[in-house]
Amino acid sequence: MNGRRNDNREEFVMRSTLRTGVCFGLATAFLGTLASAETTLRWADPLDIYSLDPYSYGSTSNLAFLNHIYDGLVRYTPEFEVVPALATKWELIDNKAWRFHLRQGVKFQNGAEFNADDVVASLNRASHPKSPLRGNIPLFAGVTKVDDFTVDVAVKSPSTLFLNDMTNIFMFDAGWLEDNDALEPTDVSAQIEGFATYNTNGTGAFILESRVPDSKTVLVVNDDWWDEKQHNIDRIEFTPITSASTRTSALLSGEIDLSSDAPLQDLERLSAQPNLKVVKRTQLRTIMLGMHREEKLDDGRDNFFNDLRVRQAIDMSIDRELIAERVMRGLARPAGTLVAPEIPGFSEEINELTPVDVDKAKALLTEAGAMGAEFTLVCSNNEYVNSEEVCSALISMFSRIGLKPTLDSGPSSIQAPKRNSGKTDMYLMGWANEPTLDAYSLLIQVLHTKEGEAGVANRGGWSYPELDAMVAEAALEQDRETRLAIENKALKLARDEIIMMPLFQIPMAWAMSDKVTEVSIGADNKARHWLTRMAE
């Protein structure tokens, strides 16, 4: 610390600060905010959106949010039916291309008219080699304008799955993109910002008013929306609140009207409040464990997971009902098979839970010579509801049968690349079968041998040619019932071989004040506030 000195200067400083302080106080006294009579939905979620550019990041929650501002050619109903949006109808031409007939008279929020050029520009942007969203439309082959309100989209295969994928591809205004030099997607490595990262111009039900990242994003109603307005909201104030307890206290104190992903542990308290209500259900997403299945573990040890007895032992050590009841507060649905009951391909026969049997598990482990085997469970702490707690509980259960597991837990931005590298011993993941909504999604992408486009999410490196054959058969099968039977057979094989271990379907819970009178909550946990109504 420096010595002290007596100087007039400091007195001057003190006085002038005082004076400005007073002026400041007076100025603030004159200003205040005006209360508004409009209907405002104050909505909180644990995560902020990443970007305002729908092509910047293939995140489901980001896209769900931006769907309020932008529309796609087609969209899902809350019951997952593909229905017209910016396209009024479509047909398959020669099994090579989809012809979309566009809705006429639709205006972008900057006043420009929506037409075929916009679709061409948008699809080119989405499928650009630099686009992070490219992987979301794997069947896309090219787009051509037929006339002002008709486009042909060439596809690699005639599967209707393409339409499902298209629900997530939103339409930009070509002129707006061109004027703002944003025809190409934002390239992170280019070290420049994209115009669309900050600015929006969609055809959607709401217009962006302002956005402060991590703080507040405000949407206002688009009175010129092309669709019939079912909501009565004038304004949406979206606030990300990471901390579970802060979200709860904000609901309790009435600072927010609605919280998606309300903390499970607080639901009891929240629903006990007279002015709050909680809506809860299970999602389509099944949480499951995958194991490394190559010959050696990544550290060079012989892979004990390849011994079916070890996998059986692990499977029967997991008390799914206890996890669902305690960690998930009775809101998760314990699972015996890898897909949820809502997903075609599911059947009740294969969904029976494996009985918990610690002694038998120990015996199996001893028999397989894997007693005391060490391995790491990779788990993320912010990907799924209470996933870290689930992993901790699993670690105890595995320890009890004589294994030596280690928990590697962290944020999903760090854990997901690890898991995807295919080197981890054991990992937790979720699969919702979206947007396909058919067990085929799990079979081809997760359970199939990793080769080409198949098995992209096969992170353990397993290979069951028998299963691959069934998947190929299902792909060619035209009859729905026969196909589902084949899928069911494949799922049964997965269960018998314990390729992966299903745990449960995760619950979702939204808590809201009773001012929110109607809200659409689908099993995909996406917000659709163009269907939300509030008390006037």
Binding site: N2, E10, V212, E255
Partner: protein, 323 residues
Amino acid sequence: MLVFILQRVLNAVMVMLAVALLAFLIFQFAGDPVAQLANEQMSQADRDALRERLGLNDGFVTQYLRFVVNAAQGNFGISYRNGQEVLGLIAARFPATMELVLVATALSLLIGIPLGVLTAIHRGRWFSEALQFTSIIGVSLPSFVVGILLILVFSVILGIMPAFGRGEVVQLGWWSTGLLTPSGRLALVLPAISLSLYQITLIMRLVRAEMMEVMRSDFVKFARARGVPRWRIQYIHALKNCLMPVITMTAMNMGALIAFALITETVFQWPGMGMLFIQAVTFIDIPVMAAYLCIISFIFVALNTIVDITYAVIDPRLRHATR
């Protein structure tokens, strides 16, 4: 004089270069940016191209120099997490943090100084001992615990204070302020208290120590002998002599307080730079982390240099003092 100022500024620049080197070094260990940026479907060729475009194949010195040159121009690149320009991201959050820090500093001066004088003058009395003891508890309570307790009591149990955020903000040019709206001011109260608690105790202790020393000095004895009223000696003459070190410490601590605010910001969901940083840490968003580190250090070094130079202007003897 000019030589002294130049020397000081040069010194500051050297320190900043070293900080930049340190930041740069730390982030060499933070993992491969390509692995972060690339999406799953990206081919190896695309990855290599990305690596080349990011300049990761260049030598260490080249990369460091490029980092420094860009940083000096305020170009920290764009965020890995959301593709926005890092400097813009930080600038947007700067007002929130500064308002919090300034209000907390004002609070700590307004509360800390009188308490310090009180405990110095009434040394040995029960309330001054009690205050001394309370101040120890003040430095011992972790900042996040204070925050949690404040939220629990004032937001949840009493329901009179907002639990998160900044309330309504008004945009004055690029500066967003919460001071002009009732909800903004209300939202500031709990975070500011929680942040200032530690600073209050520091200032109180400093004032107490300085006061006790001044009260023993000759000029106070003279004043007393000349019959100047006791309160006048204590509150005017003696206190005036204590203020310089207090103001110095406050100024020099500002940088640390800005960094420390990240805990308060996390607890109160305050949309400042600190929260941005913590989020960047969980995402390993290297450009944001590097920029935050450099900016905080810059504020810190700049304040120190200004304090040094100001002192030299006031007291010429210091210009020739060796370090």
